[in-house]
Amino acid sequence: MIERRLDLVVIGGGAAGLAAAIAAKENGVDPIMILERNEELGGILPQCIHTGFGLHFFKENLTGPEYIARFVKKVYDSGIEYRLETMVLVLTPRGEILAVNQAEGLMKLRADAIILAMGCRERSRGALCIPGTRPAGIFTAGTAQRLMDIEGYVPGKRVLILGSGDVGLIMARRFVMEGAEVRGVVEVMPFPGGLDRNLQCLGDFGIPLYLSHAAAFIHGSERVEAVTISRLDDEGRPIYGEEKTIECDTLILSVGLIPENELSKRAGVKLDPKTGGPVVDENMETSVENIFACGNVVHVHDLVDHVTQEGEAAGRNVAKRILGELPPLKRRITLKAEGNIRYVVPQVISGEQPLTLYSRVKSPAFNAEIRIGQNIVVHKRVVKPPELVTIKLTAERLKDLEKEEETTVSMNV
C-alpha cells in the first residue's frame, strides 16, 4: 500500500478545494495533495456552461468551465499534486486518510492539516417523499445538467421543474435550448428561490411559474406521464380542489442542496444543524484542530465567487498554521442565529479581528435591522432568502461587541 506524508491534503477538487490548495501553496505549503472523486478537477463547474461566474472575483462574466479553468491551470502550473477518481474512505481527527483509486489502489496519507472541500449533494425525490409512482424520468437538476452538458443526452422533451432555485431555472433554459418544452416551474414558497438574473429566462421563454405550489402526485408507470401540483395556503398546506395536472415526461428536482459531511462526521467534526456543515471559526477551522473547511461543504453558497474567496482564506490560514503563525483561537465567541436569521457563518469568532459574516435569512425583508449582540446594528435595504447577506464586522463595530461566550445574531421582521 502506498503511504505518503504531506503538509496538506485537500479533500475535494471543486472551486473551494482548488482555491484553498492554490492559496496554501502560494503561502509556502508544500507538498499538497488534492483528492477528487470525479474524473476531472473543477467540481460542478465544468457542467455549468451558462455565464454569470466571476462577476465579483474577476470582474468578468465567465462560463463555469472558463471560470474553473483558471484555477485548474494554476494547479497544473504550481505542481500541486492531485488524484482523480479517488475516494476518501477514512479520515481520522489526527489527519490520517485512507483513500482508494484505480491506478494506485489503496493509499494511506498523513497530513499536518486537512481542508474539507467536499461540496454538497442534491436533495432527492425520496427525501421529499413526493407521493405517486416511481417511474423513469425523475432527475435532480444537477444530474440532468451533467447528462446534458457533459454526456450529451437529453432526458426528455416535456419537462416540469420543481423548485425555482438557480439550478432549476438554469435547467429550464437549457431544456428550452435543446428543443424540449418546459411546462412550468413549481415553487412551494410564495417567492422565487433563484437570483433575479436566472428568473429572467422564465419571462423570455414564456415558462409559467407556479408560486405557492407543491408537487402532489407523480403519474406514470414506466416513464413519468404527468405531475399533479396543488396550490398551498399561507401555512403551506395544500388547498383542496386547487390541483392541476400537468402532462410531462420528465420531472426535474431543484429542491435544495445538502452539504456532504459524511467524512466530517466520522472524523468527529462538529456540525451546525442549521447549515448542515461544520461549525467553523473565523479562520475556517472546524472543531477538530488542523481540520479546516470551505465552500459548499460548510454552507450552500449562491455565488462561486464567494466560494473561491472562502477557499483562499482557508488555504492562507492553513499556511499560517503550518508555519506556526496562527494558533487556534483562544477567545471563542459563539454566534447564534435567531429570528429571521436562518444561520450565520462563521459560527465562532474571536471578536478581535475584523471579518465578514455570511448569513441567510428565512424570509424577505425591507429595511432590515440586523443585530449582533445588544449593541451592534447593521442595516440592509433588502434581504431575501436566495441571496447571502454579508455583514461586515469592522474594527470600529467590534468595539461594541460584548465579549461573552455566546452572542445572538438576530433580525426582527
Binding site: Q102, E122, R134, A136, P155, E222
Partner: protein, 489 residues
C-alpha cells in the same frame, strides 16, 4: 420449447422452487414477465424479515412452513452468499391490554414449534432497545427472527438454479395454460409455446389469473398494499432488533427494523386495493407509517430529514386467507403455489421442499444429480465490506474494484461489471445487485456512470438503457436530436 417442469414467476417463491428442483435430474424452466428476477411483485418491496413463526394460526400452511423456512434460511443464505442476519425480533406491548396479546402469541408460537420465545420486561427491554418508547411494558422476544435482502435472495437463487441447469426466461409472460385430456400440455407465452408436463403457478399477485387459465377458479388474489420509508444509514443502531407493535387482524403492524445493509426501514401499511399495479406512495400512507414508527421509536420523529426514500409493495392476499399450495386431479400437472403473502419470504425454502414433495407424489421421478453445485460466488464489495488485505488483493487483481462509482454505498466499477455480466440489463438490475444508487443521494451522482457502463458492456446505445425494462427509458434523446425534429425514440 419443451421442459418437464415450468415455473411461472421469478419472485422469491418461484426462484426458491427452481433452485430446489435444480438438485434433481429433471428439465426445469422458469418464466418471468418482467425483464429481471424479482422485478414483478412482492419480492422487490416487502419488510425483508425472516419471521420466527408465532404469528400464524396453528393448523394453517403458513404456521407450518414459516418456522421450517426460518430454519432453512441459515444454510441457504450461507451457501448462496445472501445477506442475512439473525438479529431477533420484539413484539412490543405499550400497555397492559397489549401485554396479554404477548402471552397469546407466545402460546401460539409454542404450538407452531417456534423455539426460545421469551417475554422481556422492564429494564432488560430498554437495555436491548435503548430508543424504544418508554411506555413499553413488555416485549415478546424471538431470537430466531432475522433480516435478509429479498431481491438479492431471489437473484441468488435464480443464479444458482441457472448454474445447475434451469432455463431462466425473462420478459416471458404466460398468456394461456393449454390443457388437453385433463392434463397440462403447454403454456402459451408472448415468446411462443412452452411444452411441459408440470406447471407451477408462482405468479404472485397474478396467480389467480394463471390459475383461471388452467380452469381453476377457487380463489382470488387481493393486492394488499404496504407503504414504507427507508432512513439513512446515519440512523444505524437506533434499533437493534425487528420491532413490531402488537398485531392487528389484517397485519403485523408498522415495523421498525434495521435492514441487512444498515439502513432503518419503517412500514408497512396494510390496505386492500383493486389495482395490482398500484405501487404509488401516498401522503396518507406516509403519515400512517410515520405514526406507527414513532409509537415504537419516538426518537424517529426528530429525524424526518434522514428519510432517503419511500416505496410501496403489494402482498398477494388470497381470499382463502392461507397459502394455496396444491395439485389437482384435473388438470393433472397443474400446481398452485399461490397466495404467498407474509410470511412468504420466510417460508419460501420450505415451500420449495413441499412443492418437490408434491411433484414426487404426483409421479415425477426426481433423482439427485451427482454434479449439483450448491454454492454461489457472491458479487464482491471490496470497499463497502472493507478488509485490510482482501480489498487490496482484489484491487491488485482487477483495478476496477478501486474505482468507486456510487459514493454513498461505496460501489465500484468492478461490482457493476460483475452485476452486468451476471445478467443485469437495467439501472434497477444493477441497483438490486450492487446497491449503486440506493444510498442517501438516490443515484444523483452515479446514475450517469451506471447507464454508460450498461450501454458499453451490453453494446447498446445509451438511449436504449432503461430503468426497469419496457417503456422506462432514461435518456431517450441525444443532444440536439429534438432541435433537428428527429424524435424517433
Amino acid at each position: 420449447m419443451e421442459t418437464s417442469v415450468l415455473i411461472i414467476g421469478g419472485g422469491i417463491t418461484g426462484t426458491a422452487i427452481a433452485r430446489e428442483l435444480s438438485r434433481y435430474d429433471v428439465k426445469v424452466a422458469l418464466i418471468e414477465k418482467e425483464v429481471d428476477i424479482s422485478f414483478g411483485g412482492a419480492t422487490k418491496a416487502n419488510t425483508a424479515i425472516i419471521h420466527a413463526g408465532y404469528d400464524d394460526k396453528p393448523g394453517t400452511l403458513a404456521a407450518k412452513l414459516c418456522p421450517r423456512g426460518n430454519i432453512l434460511w441459515s444454510r441457504l443464505a450461507s451457501v448462496l452468499s445472501i445477506p442475512f442476519k439473525r438479529i431477533g425480533s420484539l413484539v412490543v406491548a405499550l400497555g397492559g391490554e397489549e401485554a396479554s396479546v404477548l402471552e397469546e402469541l407466545m402460546e401460539r408460537g409454542g404450538r407452531n414449534g417456534v423455539p426460545n420465545l421469551k417475554i422481556i420486561e422492564n429494564e432488560e427491554l430498554f437495555e436491548m432497545e435503548p430508543n424504544l418508547n418508554r411506555e413499553a411494558i413488555a416485549g415478546l422476544y424471538a431470537p430466531t427472527a432475522g433480516i435478509v435482502s429479498p431481491y438479492e435472495a431471489a437473484i441468488a437463487l435464480a443464479e444458482n438454479a441457472k448454474q445447475n441447469g434451469v432455463s431462466i426466461l425473462l420478459g416471458t409472460k404466460a398468456t394461456d395454460v393449454i390443457v388437453e385430456d385433463g392434463e397440462v400440455k403447454a403454456v402459451r407465452t408472448n415468446n411462443g409455446r412452452i411444452y411441459t408436463r408440470y406447471v407451477l403457478n408462482a405468479a404472485g399477485l397474478f396467480a389467480d389469473e394463471i390459475s383461471s387459465m388452467a380452469g381453476i377458479k377457487e380463489f382470488e388474489i387481493i393486492p394488499r398494499k404496504g407503504e414504507y420509508v427507508i432512513y439513512d444509514k446515519d440512523l444505524s443502531g437506533i434499533v437493534n432488533h425487528v420491532l413490531f407493535p402488537v398485531p392487528s387482524p389484517v397485519s403485523k403492524g408498522i415495523t421498525v427494523t434495521p435492514t441487512v445493509d444498515g439502513n432503518i426501514i419503517a412500514g408497512p401499511t396494510a390496505h386492500d386495493i383493486k389495482d395490482k399495479n398500484d405501487l404509488t406512495i401516498t401522503l396518507a400512507g406516509l403519515e400512517e407509517v410515520l405514526d406507527g414508527a414513532y409509537k415504537l421509536v419516538p426518537e424517529l420523529s426528530a429525524r424526518r430529514d434522514t428519510i432517503i426514500a419511500g416505496f410501496a409493495g403489494l402482498r398477494p392476499q388470497p381470499t382463502t386467507e392461507d397459502f394455496i399450495i396444491k395439485s389437482y386431479r384435473e388438470p393433472f400437472g397443474f400446481i398452485n403455489v399461490a397466495g404467498i403473502k407474509s410470511p412468504g419470504l420466510t417460508s419460501a425454502p420450505a415451500i420449495a421442499e413441499m412443492v418437490v414433495d408434491i411433484l414426487k407424489r404426483g409421479g415425477l421421478t426426481l433423482e439427485e444429480k451427482d454434479d449439483f453445485k450448491p454454492f454461489r460466488k457472491p458479487i464482491e464489495h471490496p470497499i463497502r465490506d472493507f478488509h485490510p488485505t482482501k480489498t487490496e488483493e482484489l484491487i491488485a487483481k482487477d483495478p476496477r474494484y478501486g474505482h468507486v462509482v456510487c459514493r454513498c454505498e461505496y460501489v465500484t466499477e468492478g461490482e457493476m461489471m460483475d452485476a452486468i455480466h451476471r445478467g443485469a440489463t437495467t439501472l434497477d438490475g444493477v441497483r438490486y445487485r450492487t446497491r449503486a444508487g440506493m444510498g442517501r443521494c438516490q443515484g444523483g451522482f452515479c446514475t450517469p456512470h451506471v447507464i454508460k457502463t450498461i450501454a458499453r458492456e451490453l453494446h447498446v446505445p445509451v438511449e436504449e438503457v432503461t430503468k426497469r425494462g419496457n417503456g422506462s427509458k432514461i435518456l431517450p434523446y441525444r443532444a440536439k436530436q429534438l432541435l433537428l425534429g428527429d424524435e424517433r425514440e
